[in-house]
């Protein structure tokens, strides 16, 4: 286990024990709720992990990184941001995927843009958002999210 995982476990297990000791009823109830939510997604998540494993054996992370760097940085980032809008994988699975792309030599800037639009803009929730907030709000929010993703990505490129 890497150090980050160990720290995360080291923090959450004692807190969980404390919570169980102090507010047993509420903790049990929250556990049931979280379990229900995760169970609903678990099958799809596992299936998507298997798909990513398959995808990365056919096109290796190095090859994807190569493809991404064959276009110039700005275009690549733009494509990555748009790809994030239409990709339907849970953010949960996206982190290890982006991690292996980075290890394979992909640039940081497009990877960050992809991560941000992946969660902030979703074509799947688009109809629902229009239904609740109207077309103008939804379109503008998505547009601003893409812009924000690009800005965040380029600034991060300067940092790391």
């Amino acid at each position: 286990m890497d150090i980050v995982t160990r720290v995360l476990w080291g923090v959450s297990v004692p807190l969980m024990a404390y919570s169980f000791f102090k507010k047993r009823g509420l903790t049990k109830e929250a556990m049931g709720k979280a379990k229900g939510m995760m169970q609903g997604m678990l099958l799809d998540i596992i299936a998507i992990i298997f798909l990513i494993g398959l995808g990365l054996s056919i096109i290796t992370p190095n090859e994807i990184a190569g493809l991404l760097s064959s276009v110039d940085a700005v275009t690549g980032t733009f494509i990555a941001a748009l790809a994030g809008c239409v990709t339907l994988i849970p953010a949960f699975v996206a982190f290890p995927l982006v991690g292996s792309l980075l290890d394979g030599g992909a640039h940081l800037v497009p990877s960050v843009a992809f991560l941000t639009t992946l969660t902030m803009v979703g074509i799947k929730t688009f109809p629902l958002e229009i239904k609740e907030f109207g077309l103008k709000f939804t379109l503008l929010r998505s547009l601003f999210s893409i812009l924000a993703a690009l800005v965040i990505a380029f600034i991060m490129g300067g940092f790391i």
Partner: protein, 245 residues
Amino acid sequence: MALLQSIKKSKVSLFTIAAYLLTLVISQEKFGQALKGTTHYLREMLVVMPVIFMLTVLIEVWVSKDVILKNLGEKSGLKGFGFSVLLGSLSAGPIYAAFPIVKMLLSKGAGVANIVVILSTWAVIKVPMLANEAKFLGPRFMAIRWVLTVLATYLMGYFMAMFVKKEEIVGTSNPETEGLTIIDDYCVGCGVCVRMLPEVYELNNRKAQIKVSDLTTVDMSKVMQTIEKCPTKAITLRGTTVSSS
């Protein structure tokens, strides 16, 4: 019909199985590589999943959303922004789970800027997901992205409020349903209502449904409790036939 529905529900899994079978036929080597890669991913995910689970539970137990909601109200400026970020990053569930809560806040006087901040932070910077990001991309990566994202949502809220007036935010969904209903779009299938009141609710294909048509024999205070506990506020109760006795 039931078969069709269950196929639709598990289409991702079925597609994956088909893709693997196809790969096995074409190249055994690739098939082996894929399984090896997947095992690695699964193992990494399995060690972090309990952490995400525990953090979700801890936030649910110890962070009172009511306090945040009460403070949010009409507050604008930095304070409103702060509470919006808190609400967004401490809530569980996918972004669409935020829609009903945000609509409720709108009707209670929250401004456009705060709404945008809640939706954006809800989507991008959830605390349990930050743990996940720190594991796979490093704490430094996570921290810098977090700071930049929070700043970005502030600007987004500011500009959105310039372009969109509150009166323009009118959705078409206003289901004038009578009695007790569950909005399918928002149910995340956590099953909390089923556990609380199994005689009223049941889970079908990962969605909660109401199985009784006559509510007269049901303890309405318990029903109100399930409405309150529902994490996405998907359960609604309307109409004159039911009094909250």
